[in-house]
Amino acid sequence: MSLLAAKRLEKHYGNHVVLENLNFSVESGEFVTLVGASGCGKTTFLKMLLGTEATSRGRLTLDDHPIPNEPGPDRGVVFQKYSVFPHLTVLGNVMMADELRSSKLLGKSFGAARRRGIEKARERIEEVGLDQALDKYPHELSGGMQQRLAIAQALMMRPRILLLDEPFGALDPGIRQDMHVLINRLWQEQQLTIFMITHDLKEAFELGTRLWVFDKTRHDPQAPEAYGATITYDLPISRDRPSEALKETLQQGGLQTHTQETLL
């Protein structure tokens, strides 16, 4: 039984076909990296996994049941933007998950429970390198720091599936490397299943166990919205195979698509 599966899955907005003919099955513990041209529907796909966008046609199942049509604690997310709460400090943001769990009525913890929560949150904050900014509000952080905060916050939940929408886009190479190490470690420790959108093919190869390329296979110049993108490439990545070789495989596939032109 696979964790996630899709059969002839489609997504339309009115007459605009964004995604079509998606077929896949993903096992627990996979790390799927998603690449594709801007606007081809990667975020839309993530939202369908989250349950905030309904599927237009086809089946999308989680544990062989239709995916819940609202977000839940089993699927964590880091968005491209607006991913942290502006009214909470770094500590408050990371503690949120714990507080919501420990106090159903107030959503806020006190006393010993609070101290334990702070302790746990601090560890995670240290891991993402924000321990100097515990009491800062998000508007006082740089874009990259906000993104790291969002990652720390999402991982406090121990979700089964973690959805990442270009989480490292705003980070400089050094910190990006640290984040790769962190994500990799947490993925193994917590046995997460991760979907990560990225525009950086090198990152996609480095982190993922499986690479999906989203692109259109059919194109009508008269009606650009008539056909949607689908998974044109579904490649297993193994750690011992260098990414250069994979790029060659991709090119040998002969699909001279827009994605490849822009990404490779």
């Binding site: 607006y82 009214h87 919501l100």
Partner: protein, 275 residues
């Protein structure tokens, strides 16, 4: 030469520039007042500042022979009590209904049309009904303020609630929040500073309804006083009272701004305002 839109006055210059219109208006008043008083020294319409100060001083210190009250303070107290209670009730209703309307589509579908229609009723037209229903006591005046201000607050807050990025509501749910917890931990704290802001904007309306209600039926209050002495053309009382009301309104406004900045620093920084 800098573009006009980039030229900002220096700190001292800002004060001076802000003060200038006041000085000009003051001078205009003095010259008009002098001209009138030169013709007729007993003319009551544009009294000298000295006369106004004298009347105001009298109101602020002289005890009423019968009740032992000092008029200015009893008027101020009565009016402030009404406006604070009225606006306080409005803010509370506005916050609760605004959050529920903005956060729960099921509630919004039921309440939103009602709020829209209610906000279109001219509150002053309801005043006779209020007097009939509540009598001419405090309740009617407070009710007028509440009716006049609440729909605006509700609509403003509901708008802000709807404009919060969906990502935040989704995020909270992925962190395990129930509907109640989303309202309490995401909507409430983010809407409270916006409520304070909206309340500041609504204070002008609140004063309007307060003074209107006091003018029509009251035994004390700032609005009552100016409408009472109007019969004797006592501009020497009316003008200082108007200035006094303006000062009170200004202080209330600054108080709200101060509380908001103190309690919600993140809001003011991200809105980029320092008003």
């Amino acid at each position: 030469m800098k573009r006009l839109i980039n030229s900002t006055p220096s700190r001292g210059g800002r004060w001076l520039l802000g003060l200038l219109p006041f000085v000009l208006l003051g001078m205009l008043y003095l010259s008009l007042s002098n001209a009138r008083l030169a013709e007729n020294p007993n003319d009551p319409l544009l009294p000298t500042p000295a006369k106004m100060a004298q009347s105001f001083h009298h109101l602020a210190t002289a005890e009423n022979a019968r009740t032992g009250e000092i008029l200015l303070w009893s008027d101020t107290l009565a009016s402030l009590e009404r406006i604070v209670i009225g606006v306080g009730i409005s803010a509370l209703i506005g916050l609760i209904v605004g959050i529920l309307n903005g956060g729960l589509p099921l509630v919004r579908a039921k309440l939103s049309p009602l709020v829209t229609v209610a906000s279109l009723i001219p509150p002053m037209a309801l005043l006779p009904i209020l007097f009939i229903a509540f009598g001419t006591g405090e309740a009617a005046k407070i009710a007028l303020i509440v009716i006049g201000v609440t729909p605006f607050l509700i609509r403003d807050l509901q708008g802000h609630a709807l404009r919060l990025p969906d990502e935040q509501l989704i995020k909270a749910q992925t962190l395990g929040a129930s509907s109640w917890q989303v309202l309490l931990r995401v909507l409430l704290p983010q809407l409270t500073p916006r409520l304070l802001n909206a309340t500041r904007l609504a204070m002008g309306t609140a004063w309007l309804f307060l003074i209107a209600a006091e003018a029509i039926a009251a035994q004390e209050g700032l609005g009552y006083r100016i409408f009472l002495v109007r019969r004797y053309l006592s501009m020497d009382v009316i003008l200082p009272y108007v200035a006094w009301i303006t000062l009170l309104a200004f202080l209330l406004d600054q108080l709200l701004a101060w509380v908001s900045r103190l309690a919600f620093p993140w809001y003011h920084a991200s809105e980029g305002d320092n008003a």
